[in-house]
Amino acid sequence: MAAEELKTGPLEYRTQEGQMGIMGFWIFLGAEVVLFATLFATYAVLYGRTADAPVPGELFEPGIVLIMTFLLLTSSFTCGLAIHEMRRGSVKGLTIWMSITLALGLGFLGFEIYEFVHYAHLGATMQSSAFWSAFFTLAGTHGLHVTLGIGWAILLLIQIRKRGLTNVTSRKFFIISLYWHFLDVIWIFIFTSVYLIGMVL
């Protein structure tokens, strides 16, 4: 199919297949924005409907949320560096920065799991009120995306060890970098509109 192949530019854009794959992923990300929009809307509508469970202002703590935010922000940065190294043709640089990204992502997940367990001990669970259902669905869907992203990136790291940098592997790494940055975009909005506003109101 790939009748013509460009001789310059980033590897992932040189074939039409690569360009189309990346464009398709942007369309997927547009759909993901809308998916999260519905969860944000549900959360916003159910804000304050805590029934007999604790209210968010009592449970949300700035410290742990800021640590999670900085972990994810830094992982987004190192993911960008990984793609930068990939475009310089360095498999080693790509692997190192991507591994750091994954370690930071795992740290984020660890804190999120700790946070959820902590809230559950204090009486805020999925079942305890409409508000907490919406909260755990929104934050949990993001956490699930992070988990899937980590598994996906590990598979790609195995693949690049076997196949090296080609049009196909660099397209795959570029797409997971889009996915990872996108998760950070969603987290910024969770951090702002769930945690910060939850502590202000």
Binding site: Q19, W26, G30, V33, V45, F70, L73, S193, I197
Partner: protein
């Protein structure tokens, strides 16, 4: 593209520093400042949008000519976020606007809701 041979990606470093700064300002405004609540909420939402812009333009190469995808990535993100705004604002307008009996706006009516919830749970 032009930067792909440089050792240090200046764009990424600037984007990272900007994100950290905006996160800290937003956290300070919400936790440490005495500004009016509505100002804080508007301010931190604007900061969140700016941070999303940093991610899209400095990390995700949303307007990269060599992609051959023209304006598609930007269109996808712009329309996705426009829809998100409509969904969230529209849901709040139809479901919450004017709902609270005490008139304090969303989330102000905790005590009355406690009573309502208990009434419903009796069914």
């Amino acid at each position: 593209m032009a930067s792909s041979n440089k050792r240090v990606p200046t764009n990424h470093v600037i984007g990272f520093v900007l994100s950290l700064a905006m996160t800290l300002v937003a956290a300070w405004a919400a936790i440490g400042s005495d500004l009016p609540v509505s100002w804080v909420i508007i301010g931190i939402m604007i900061l969140a949008l700016l941070q999303a812009g940093v991610q899209l333009f400095m990390f995700m190469h949303v307007t990269e000519a060599s992609s051959g995808n023209g304006h598609v990535p930007w269109n996808m993100m712009f329309h996705g976020f426009a829809l998100a705004g409509i969904i969230v604002a529209g849901s709040l307008f139809t479901m919450s606007f004017g709902f609270d009996h005490d008139g304090h706006g969303g989330g102000g009516g905790d005590h009355q809701q406690h009573e309502e919830q208990q009434d419903h749970s009796g069914h």
